[in-house]
Symmetry: C2
Subunit: 367 residues, 2 copies
């Protein structure tokens, strides 16, 4: 029974979770996964300096609600001003704030069919109406997204570059060129969560003061701090200021603030991780090919593997892997859901994946 005192909107929402966590699956299967390759976390871990900074943090104190030191460092890193930057509880948290700021009930929002479900969750949570355009050649389609935004007069349009779950990427310059067709009055949320391990030229060269775009970045992926919950956005100061109207000012974990600051300063570690990611992507691709599957090119820390048949077959392969202790996920929407998605792992993780895949494929053939 839903509490009748809830708002009408809240009553209409399902109690949902965008992703089932691996711990939930481990409890269901009665034991830990042998390899955790499903959440695009960085198994290579954060900088040792970040680990040390977090261990030394004085957690009896609230974090700095202004995130001052981190914003200063990020501003220097990106060559923008601190007023161009808002730090928040992961990109998930920032997307929630952004949806709250822009989306009233009935407001149209545009995304790709099969793109980030947590964005959709936030938009629906504020009563927005989602319009979806299909992927094109396993990539998000800026031209189609912006055309749809014009058609429905969208408040927001979401574009991840590189894309999750397919791993594809556009050149940043192409995104900027496409902006000519972004309708006036639509804000582009450019989610660059994976850009730190993408080829040079993937990050969109958008001016920080360009009012048409807000860029999202995170310490959860290549920086290896998913558990810390630190994301940030870069945008025009007027837009950044709006977050202060609604954000949880004391919401940032103090150790996470220190960890992100130390992680940002250790670009050598980032380079090391990028090398590990590249090696791991290559190995995942080889394992896929060795078993007759088709790895898609990846600009991210994961590889989408085309299992060559329909969604049912890919799901059977995924189930077979999970049953064998390998945590992986798969795209939600057709035709991307002919694939499974495997995050980069250590050599040992990928040994386990390689060992489990033949049995999973055998089971899937039979099912």
């Amino acid at each position: 029974m839903t509490d009748p005192r809830l708002t009408r909107l809240a009553r209409s929402l399902p109690a949902s979770v965008p992703f089932v966590g691996p711990e939930t699956q481990e409890r269901a299967r009665g034991g830990p996964f042998a390899a955790r390759l499903g959440a695009n976390e960085s198994v290579f871990g954060p900088s040792p300096h970040a680990v040390a900074a977090m261990a030394q943090a004085q957690q009896w104190m609230y974090g700095d609600p202004e995130n001052h030191d981190l914003r200063m460092a990020l501003a220097a890193h990106h060559g923008v001003t601190p007023d161009n930057i808002i730090v928040g509880e992961g990109i998930d948290g920032l997307l929630g704030y952004l949806a709250r700021l822009f989306v009233a009930e009935g407001d149209p929002v545009v995304t790709s069919d099969g793109a980030y479900p947590t964005f959709n969750y936030h938009v629906a949570g504020y009563g927005g109406v989602l319009h979806k355009v299909p992927y094109r050649d396993d990539a998000e389609d800026p031209a189609a997204l912006f055309a749809k935004a014009a058609e429905v007069d969208a408040k927001l349009v979401y574009l991840a570059n590189p894309d999750n779950p397919m791993g594809s990427a556009h050149r940043g310059a192409d995104i900027v060129a496409a902006l000519a067709d972004l309708p006036r009055g639509t804000l582009l949320i450019l989610d660059e969560a994976y850009v730190d391990c993408a080829p040079d030229g993937t990050a969109a060269p958008v001016a920080a003061d360009d009012p048409r775009v807000i860029r999202m970045r995170t310490f959860s992926k290549v920086y290896g701090l998913a558990g810390a919950r630190v994301g940030y956005a870069i945008g025009v100061p007027d837009l950044i200021t709006a977050f202060h109207k609604v954000r949880n000012h004391f919401g940032m974990n103090r150790a996470a603030q220190a960890g992100a600051l130390a992680a940002l300063a250790d670009q050598d570690w980032l380079a090391h991780v990028k090398t590990q990611i590249a090696l791991s992507r290559d190995r995942i691709a080889r394992i896929a090919r060795d078993h007759g599957l088709t790895p898609l090119p990846s600009a991210t820390n994961f590889v989408a593997i085309d299992c060559g048949r329909d969604a049912g077959f890919a799901k059977a392969v995924l189930d077979g892997l999970v049953a064998r202790g390998i945590f992986v996920r798969m795209p939600f929407a057709a035709p991307q859901n002919r694939c499974i998605r495997v995050s980069c792992g250590t050599a040992q993780d990928l040994d386990a994946f390689a060992a489990a895949l033949p049995g999973a494929l055998r089971d899937a053939e039979k099912s």
Copy 2:
């Protein structure tokens, strides 16, 4: 210039901060405070087991979105079921979710004049209309709160017990008795953030399945983990489930989850901290009396000190303390704002407070 694409509600909100952080003040004054006694943090720190657990946490992994282990432990601790418990990003985060679930634009909400500003921030942020009742004898007044709730047909009524900023407390049994006058259709938010250091009998013996009340608890105060951002609420499962409609499922810091679990298990540390708090409260009271001021009785980890004159005088005393490197705060509303509020500190912190107070009082007399 406010972005015209923001929702009408968002445009109407100020870019605000419920509290200015001590770091902001330190940057303004050009140096660190000698004693940090303004945010009711626990300078005695968290359990060493919690510190160790946080240091060992693998922050490359997202936290468990179900907070399973912590909810199980909290359920056992309180003698309730895990379905009675929601864990969130501090009480601040949970208050935000609750406001979102219950408060549509124009919905009436009741609180005390001068009670927790962050609750007011969240209610205003969803367009709620706040109705305030005065404190009575420096304590929140359940009868007046519930009468006002009946008068305005409030969705929510907020009551902190013990109270912040005055430190007063009602017996839990008296809160339960007052519930007879809570109007049908009003949910009582009973904020028990400070109850862990209050006298026995302060926690309200409310059944976890009582649909009239949701209780809020935190690891930020006596458990010493303010920086970690871990709070929880206890309520009827139907109400708890509603949080899953809107919460940031992967919003919890993984190390914080582990730290809270270890802190909860170390009740010996809690007892140690409670002793330190009691000693510190007594010393703050003595220092106040030594300078002709009147300490109010406290069931919390801070002491409100009546400076004996008006708000302007108290503010001058506060400014004098801040200028001398002592971070303290004061109540926002009359007549409570004749006081300053001093958090418990170490012996060294209170030495610094005692040394600064005479000068601050001298300056205030002159101003």
